[in-house]
């Protein structure tokens, strides 16, 4: 059968040369056009350009897709209401594929090619940390929707975030564990993620300070699928709970394997658990677990319910934390542009820094002197494979 098709390739060979010549021609024409396009200011001058980078594909795609939908919703809303300073907002979104190295390239492109006035992104702290120094150097304000690692805003005075930081989140979870009466806790960290390492550090500090004991600190790397080795050695120490400051991708598998191995203790985590596929994969394995996050769609306040409604109408699904934070980051930027009455980097920076009591979806947001958001954390629990509101913890 296969031989029958071989003549096709024999026939194709003389053609190949012609194709190569044609390709070269097409490419050179394209290259010339591209060059010309980058030299000429083709963009309409009456747009405010904002760059957004997110993990739309790859391991953290749930995060990126969500935060992007939230950001887009905010921008659409602002434009529908007439835009800012009499101009429309143009949001340019680029995908960093959840890959290290990409954010730097993308942000360079935003600043040099697209001439953005501000940058929004990322959820993952490692990615934000790559982009932040470039924004700082070029004096372009950057607002991260959900990077909770303290180092992100320490890069410089042009870097902001609209979420709480890991020292707060870690301490909240440590206190929560102690309020439940647990004394012996094991920790399983994702060493490839700055977020996870940072959160684990603050949890351990907070937990030990009040007399708790960390029986075992174990780790894994993003992308791992088998955690039996770590869980086996934890099981022999019989911890009362396991703190799991990772991302949903691995957490769901860890939960599943822990349950099978007979580890019955509850799992604790942070906002990295928030992802569409967490419960789909983990099923009932996460029942009785707790994690801190930014917002709950079950919140009855009119601000939240209004957002949930709009989001559902547009995307056909309930928004999660990342969507809410994406929305808040774009709204805070928009408000600052309005207040500054200009898109000039320096003045815009000052306006963002002055944000106070912004009525965000994820709570009342005030940016402190370290450019971090001061706001409450929400602790959710999981019962019968569904999220349930547990409590809200103010800073």
């Amino acid at each position: 059968m296969i031989e029958v098709f071989l003549p096709i390739f024999t026939l194709a060979r003389p053609l190949a040369k012609t194709i190569v010549i044609m390709k070269t021609l097409v490419f050179s024409v394209l290259a010339t056009v591209g060059l010309a396009a980058s030299l000429l200011p083709l963009r309409a001058a009456d747009d405010i350009v904002i760059g957004e980078f997110a993990s739309l594909t790859g391991g953290n795609a749930s995060f990126g897709q969500s935060s992007h939908k939230g950001t887009q919703l905010a921008v659409d809303e602002i434009n529908a209401a007439g835009g800012l300073l009499g101009k429309k907002i143009k949001l340019i979104t680029e995908d960093d594929q959840s890959t290290a190295g990409q954010p730097a390239t993308i942000v360079q492109k935003f600043i040099n090619q697209d001439k953005v006035v501000a940058v929004l992104g990322e959820v993952a702290s490692s990615k934000s940390l790559e982009a932040a120094p470039i924004c700082q150097q070029n004096k372009i304000p950057m607002i991260s929707p959900a990077s909770t690692n303290p180092k992100v805003t320490e890069v410089g005075d042009y870097i902001f975030r609209v979420c709480f930081i890991d020292s707060f989140q870690g301490t909240v979870m440590a206190k929560f564990a102690q309020s439940k009466g647990w004394k012996r806790v094991a920790v399983l960290t994702d060493v490839k993620q700055d977020y996870s390492v940072g959160l684990a550090k603050f949890f351990v500090e907070g937990f030990k300070k009040n007399g708790g004991e960390i029986v075992k600190e174990q780790s894994y790397s993003s992308g791992d699928r088998d955690f039996k080795a770590q869980l086996t050695s934890m099981k022999s120490l019989k911890p009362e709970a396991i703190f799991l400051p990772g991302y949903y991708t691995e957490v769901s598998l860890i939960a599943k394997q822990a349950k099978l191995l007979g580890l019955k203790c509850p799992l604790l985590g942070g906002d990295g658990w928030v992802g569409d596929s967490l419960l789909k994969v983990a099923g009932n394995s996460l029942d009785g677990s707790f994690f801190s996050c930014h917002f709950s769609a079950q919140d009855k306040s009119p601000v939240v319910q209004g957002f949930v409604e709009k989001f559902k109408a547009k995307n056909g699904a309930l928004p999660d934390d990342m969507a809410a934070l994406g929305y808040d980051s774009a709204m805070i930027l928009a408000e600052a542009i309005k207040k500054a009455d200009t898109t000039d980097g320096d003045k815009l920076r000052e306006a963002i820094a002055a944000t106070k009591d912004h009525p965000g979806i994820t709570g009342k947001i005030t940016l402190d002197k370290d450019r971090n958001a001061e706001k409450p954390a929400t602790i959710l629990t999981i019962a019968n494979g569904a999220y349930k509101f547990e409590q809200s913890v103010a800073p």
């Binding site: 296969i2 071989l6 790859g58 780790s219 080795a229 050695s233």
Partner: protein
């Protein structure tokens, strides 16, 4: 002391389960290298396609069996997925590598990287980038020995891991039979020995190469299913890591050598688990690759590989 021994044995079991998956994938690398002398970098992605084939076929297959998970569903899913992946493997060879048969090996190698990237990114486009939950085709449980056996009853294994080890052993013996006792197997061996002489003896090299790709891809597909019943979260990039480890396993065992690939796979699985359990997960890959370098320094052909004179 008893605690330590039990922990060690438990980690060994975990390592063997993980290693059997690597072994299945490594066989495909080594077989293709045997007949074509090039590394098919897209092989890890065929493993991913196997898992996704299971993801889409699973619910329908479950329906056929009256929505009851069980061995029947698993076996029929393995068969269907293996056939599908074999076809995919043959198709990849036919579309991408066959036209380059007479070109320098480097061209084919780079094409293989291209095919791999195409499958990974095409997969993200087609299936979506976020992890998918693999359908439950087998009710998983944890097997352990009866408690009356004393301390040793603390040892246990995931049912799905036990099954996948068993299936791996069956597939290995099946493969051995094909390679050693069938005409096609003889042709494969002849081709890997000397392609020109083989074709002079009336062997149709193209058919044998296509068959080899099909066989290797079928094993990768099976590995995709077996891994998914143990860790039911699949994504289009799952083949990258597994493929790399399996490739290392094939080189470790002696690339081109079938028992070597199986041995290498199991070794990598066990070393990985031991490093994670006793040293630190951070150094896992460093130590695995360090072992590879050490073994290649002492025995450049790999553990079971025979030295071969490079024809100039």
């Amino acid at each position: 002391m008893a605690d330590k021994i039990i922990l060690f044995l438990q980690q060994l079991i975990n390592g063997l389960a993980q290693g059997s998956i690597y072994a299945l994938i490594a066989l495909g690398y080594t077989m293709v290298f045997g007949v074509l002398r090039f590394i098919n970098f897209a092989h890890g992605d065929v493993y991913m396609l196997g898992a996704f084939a299971g993801f889409y076929i699973g619910p329908r297959m479950l329906h056929l069996f009256g929505d009851k998970p069980g061995y029947g569903v698993l076996v029929s899913m393995l068969l269907v997925t293996m056939i599908l992946c074999a076809l995919i493997g043959v198709l990849i060879e036919w579309l991408c590598y066959r036209p380059l048969r007479d070109r320098p090996k480097l061209t084919v190698l780079i094409t293989a990287i291209g095919v791999s990237l195409f499958l990974e990114n095409g997969g993200q486009f087609l299936f979506g980038a976020d992890p998918k939950s693999f359908p439950e085709i087998l009710t998983d449980s944890y097997l352990s020995l009866p408690e009356s056996w004393g301390r040793i009853s603390e040892l246990g294994i995931q049912l799905s891991a036990a099954i996948s080890m068993l299936v791996t052993v069956i597939l290995l013996f099946g493969l051995r039979h094909i390679v050693l006792h069938t005409k096609m197997g003889m042709a494969m061996r002849a081709l890997s020995f000397n392609p020109v002489a083989a074709s002079l003896m009336g062997i149709n090299n193209s058919v044998v190469i296509a068959f080899t790709f099909g066989l290797g891809s079928a094993l990768a597909g099976a590995a995709g299913i077996l891994t998914s019943i143990q860790q039911p979260s699949i994504d289009p990039l799952m083949g990258v890591n597994a493929g790399l480890k399996a490739f290392v396993a094939a080189v470790l065992g002696g690339i081109g050598n079938l028992p070597g690939a199986a041995l290498g796979g199991i070794l990598i699985g066990v070393i990985e688990t031991m490093v994670v359990g006793y040293v630190s997960p951070t150094y896992r890959d460093a130590i695995v690759f360090g072992v590879l370098i050490l073994i290649l320094l002492v025995k450049p052909t790999g553990l079971l590989g025979a030295s071969e004179q490079e024809k100039v």
